[in-house]
Structure formats: C-alpha cells, structure tokens
Symmetry: C2
Subunit: 335 residues, 2 copies
DNA sequence: AAATTTCTTGGGAGCGCTCCCAATAGCCGA
DNA sequence: TCGGCTATTGGGAGCGCTCCCAAGAAATTT
C-alpha cells in the first residue's frame, strides 16, 4: 500500500497541508489536531519521501564527505576512520545524512559534477590533504557551501576546522629541548600537505626560541606511513640524533622499528615523540609520548559549521583551530 | 540561471523527452540529434537533478552502508577502512553513490525508518557483525534489497558475501600442526560474531583431523582488539602453549606484546599465526604469518551483488565465499 | 502505388512534497 | 451587534524528471 501525505491526511481527517505542517513541526497547528495526526503517522510508520521533499524544498539534508583516495596506504592510518565516525555521529545528531565520496582520479570529473550540480547534497566536507586540489576552486565558483578539515593555506575565504598543528608540534619539541636533548631530529609529513608543513613550522619555531639553527641533516621527509617513517629514520641515524619528533604516530612507529634494528635504545639514546595519539600509541614498545589531536571533534565541528553555513549562506568565513594535548609516556624519557 | 531538461531542450531545438533519452542513453535517438544535444549538455555542464529523477523513477542510485558503531575501538581495525574503500570504489564504477550510516543505538529506530521508508536508497549493505541484529528482520519484512558482508548463520534466505573463514583458519592451524607443534592455543573473536565462530570451527576441525581433542585451557576469547589479544594471551600463558592461532591480526599483535613481556621467544618458544593480513602485519616484530582475507573484494562483491538484486528483485538468494590466502612470514617458524 | 512497419519525436500525466494565498472560524473591544 | 484580528485549515501551483502513448516521417513490403 502506498502511503504518503495524502493518505495520512485522509486517515486523520485533515488536509495534506496540515499533515505537512505536523511533519515539519510548524507551530500553526491546533494541539489536538497535531496529536491526532501524529498518532496516525506512528501507526503507519510513515516517513516522508526524501526525493519529493528535496525536489520541492531545494534541500536534501545530506552532506557530502570527500576523502582523497591516495594510495590505500593512507587508509591504514586510523585517522580517517575516527574522522568519519565523528562526522557521521554529528550528522545523526542534526538529522542529516552523510554521502561518502572517495576521490579516485578516474572519477573525479564526474564526482565534481555530481557534487555541484545534481542537487544531491546541501554542502560538502572536504578532508583536505593536498594543497593543489582542484575541488576547492570549483566549490567556490559554484557557491556550494563547504568546510575543509585541515587548514587551507592560500584561500583565506574558505571555512575550515583544523588541529592547532603548529603549537602542538612546538610543545612537543620544546619539551624535548627542555629535557636537555641537543640534537633533535624530525620526520615531517609530505611537503604538499598543510598538516605536514604546519608541524614542521612548530618544530622550527621551538628550535629558534632556543637559539638553535635548523640542521638539514636532522630533517627527513616522510609520508605519514609506517614504512615512510622507517626509511626516514634510517636516513637520520648516521647524523646521531638524540631525540626525534615524528609528525605522525604511524611514522613514529616506523622510526621505533628502525631504531630497534639499529640497536638504539628509546628513550635512553634517542627520545621519541609522535603526533596524533592513535589508539595503538600507548601500546608501542615503549609507549609513545605524543601530541593528541581531537580527531573526532574535528569531524563534529566540521558538520556543525557546515550546517550553519547552509542555513545562513553568505555569513563570514569561519576558521576553527582546536587545541592539542601533549601526552607524556615512556618514549620521551620523562614521566 | 536555472538549467534543466527543458532548458537544454530549448537550446538544442528538441523536446524535453528527447533530451531525457539522450541523458539516459536510450537508443531510440537519431545519431545527429544525440550529438547536438550532448554538445549543449557539455557546454552547460548539465547534470540532471537527482531528486526529480528519483521521484519520477523510484530509483535513487544510492546504496546505504550500515556499519555497527560498537565501541570506537573497532574502528582502530583497518578492516572497516579497507571495506569502505572497496565499496565506494565499486559504487563509483557502477555509477552509484554510498550513504553511510553508523549504527549508534540511540538513533537506530530513526535509522531503520529512514533506511526503509524514506526512499533515500535502493538497497543496503550491512557489515553484519552481531548475531542478534534487529535490522536484518526489518529489511526482510520490508522487502528492501540488502546484502550482508559476513555470513548470516540463521536466516538462510539472505544474500551475503564473506571470506571463507573456516577454511582459512583450518589452513593456518593445520600448518602449525604439520610443523610439529603440540599445544596449539587459539584466541577467538567474540562469541556473538559469526566470523569469530567460523574461525574457531576451522581451528577445531584441524585439531580433530589430527586426532587431537580440544583443550579448553588453550582457548581464550578475545574481542578482535589489540588489548583483548594481550589479555587473552596472558590467560593462555600458564598453560604452556607452543603455538597460537589468533583470530585477527590485531589480537595477534596484542599476543606478541604479552609474549615479549613474558620473555617467550617467537617463533622459537611459541609460533604465532594471525588472521586478516592488515597492512602492518608484515612489520610486526617478528613479521606475522597470517591468513589474508580479500577485504576490498568483499566490498566490491557486495556492491555488485546488491545492484543485481535491485535490478532483478526476487531472484534466488546468493551466497558468496571468497577464498583466503595463507601468508607465511617469520612468526610461525617456517619459511 | 498502397499498406505496413520502423524510426524518431513530442507532450501529457503524474511522482510526493513545500510554499503561498485564500478562506473560514473564533475571538476581541467598542 | 459589528468590524477587525488572530488562529487554523485547505487547495492550487509548481519542483524537474520519467514513463507512456500517439503522431508524423521515413523506409520497407506486397
């Protein structure tokens, strides 16, 4: 049996319009009528048709989530899983749904067209990893509301949520220096990702504040993966660092493996600090000192920002930096 | 400027109907006309309105993906990330989209209503972990096409895709026995998940085939997490196992940690085999022998099955078991 | 040459909802 | 008692598309 507004209306002796008002919590309905209609709705388990609704209203209550596919390797990092969880959870709480788009190069053109012109979604959350993403300009040109998870360096007018990567990194490195470490090395993220650049900036600033110069031999570029961290650490080893700041826990894990193989003790010979505080960080050997970033809150905040943006188009751009937390465990040699 | 079928029709000198035919690749269009229309469509970057389309046709070309929220801990396992990737990728290839639903208990009622009655999606993929899921009966009652990722034990009529967990586990344990191990222990998954039960069944069968009885002291229940594996191993240690089959790599990782702390050498004192072949398995200490399951293909297969099911409702239920692959590394003591 | 079939096209009738305006009923104060 | 208010309700007009039927043109048959 086909059940729609009209059917509910018939069964509760009112008009389609009144049922619509009840469904949408319009206050202009008599309290008794409202109850009567609601009862019928519950009885029939009625749910208004989403397509008809968005066709008539122009809103879908669906948010798009775009995640760069990259190599599948990136997915080994729990970061995305937790982010997705935060986003989905906030969407639930705000009665929205999430549509997921993995940005695979071969589908990108179609993806952008769908995102922008099909009317499927009201706004987009972009987990922005790459600096040269063609998606952001397209979104701006087409006035599609969107929020970046991760700061965007060049366009000042975009809305974003990010962890305070620079200060987080700064705190970690400052701590290592305060402990008396002399040769602090770093494994950075890829240079084309903002998060990597920001953490590196924090590293540099901490050195500067102590009057130390940046020794290029003590800086190795990684790719946020375990394997990348392992290789980077092998490049650093000949230069005898006595401390390491790795720009992600996955890379720190790889570095620990390289150190172990080389017979260096952690933290005695080399103190190690990571970034992220992924679930396994506390269970590494030794437990990893790290900078915790609130990944889940990154997601919920992005959703809230985006929904505001959809409700009030043209409001001033908003940028949110969430504080990180320095978590001391064994690997830095001070607890 | 508002651009729709009618507008494209006007600009290319044909009717709305003809444009619709072109958009939908209907063969009944003159080749010349088709080209003309396509040119205009490309020029204006036209994308048909999704809401109108599904309102008129009753199809949305959107698949729902339901993942049990559980404790966030589950998300630390790369399994879901890879599965999502497989599903999203296959959806792209078939010109569908994915809508993501994390099954949080407090939203479950609304979720089920939306899933079933809002017409938002054409079908559902359920990453079925729990035996007693109330979603499955609801889907059956409402004739919503759906596919389970993970075998369903009780309802024979449901469609599912799964890894061949039992044979995979059997192969691993048979290998350990063939190497001459006498006291093979296992850390199982939670008893309310089918994958856990199936892997345990494979373990038992391998023992039986060698005429060995199941020693309850050598069986500990875990929860597919690293921490769970660690605790389970501690319970097993007093019973002096000389080999371990862990029902997931994450649990194997925890077990390795417990063994290391207890001063047991792997593989000399205890040979260890995991299950999954997650990206980090090869980088554990020692590299983990494991049963690789094709997680990504689980996802793509589920999508293909579901789309078939949507196109041909009422076809015979289909069940697919994908073969696993035994991957030998250091931790089992034979390579 | 007429009749039939095939190819191609156009237009009407919805799909189920929201939005707007008009209509009715009930209420107030003068 | 009457005009003007407000509270509540009903119904028409789309939103942009698909589906179906019919019509004309072109091609084929007899």
């Amino acid at each position: 049996m086909k059940i729609n507004l009209e059917e509910i209306a018939r069964r509760s002796g009112v008009s389609r319009s009144t049922v619509s008002r009840v469904v949408n919590d319009d206050p202009n309905v008599n309290a008794g009528t409202r109850e009567r209609v609601k009862t019928v709705i519950r009885q029939l388990n009625f749910q208004p048709n989403a397509a008809a609704r968005s066709l008539a209203s122009g809103r879908t209550r669906v948010l798009g989530l775009v995640i760069p596919q990259g190599v599948g390797a990136l997915f080994a990092d729990p970061y995305f899983a937790i982010l997705i969880q935060g986003i989905a959870s906030a969407c639930n709480a705000h009665d929205h749904s999430v549509m997921l788009w993995l940005a695979e190069p071969e589908y990108e053109r179609r993806m952008i067209r769908q995102l922008l012109h099909s009317g499927m979604i009201d706004g987009v959350i972009v987990s922005s990893m790459l600096l040269d993403d063609s998606l952001v300009p397209a979104l701006i040109d087409n006035q599609k509301p969107f929020v970046l998870v991760g700061r965007h360096p060049s366009k000042p007018e975009v809305n974003y949520v990010d962890s305070d990567n620079e200060n987080g990194a700064w705190a970690a490195v400052a701590h290592l220096l305060r402990l008396g470490r002399q040769r602090v090395a770093t494994i950075t993220g890829p240079s084309n990702m903002v998060a990597g650049a920001d953490r590196r900036a924090g590293f540099v600033r901490a050195l500067r504040e102590r009057g130390l110069a940046l020794d290029p031999d003590l800086l190795a570029e990684g790719d946020f993966t375990e394997a990348g961290g392992y290789l980077a650490m092998q490049r650093l080893l000949p230069h005898k660092p006595d401390a390491l700041f790795a720009a992600s826990d996955m890379m720190a894990q790889g570095a620990l493996r390289a150190l172990r193989e080389a017979g260096r003790r952690v933290p005695e010979d080399v103190a190690v600090v990571g970034f992220d505080d992924i679930p396994t960080a506390a269970r590494l050997e030794p437990p990893l000192t790290t900078v915790r970033q609130p990944i889940q809150r990154l997601g919920t905040t992005a959703v809230e920002l985006l929904i505001e943006l959809i409700d009030q188009p043209g409001s001033a751009p908003r940028r949110v930096l969430l504080a990180t937390e320095f978590v001391i465990r064994k690997s830095c040699g001070a607890n």
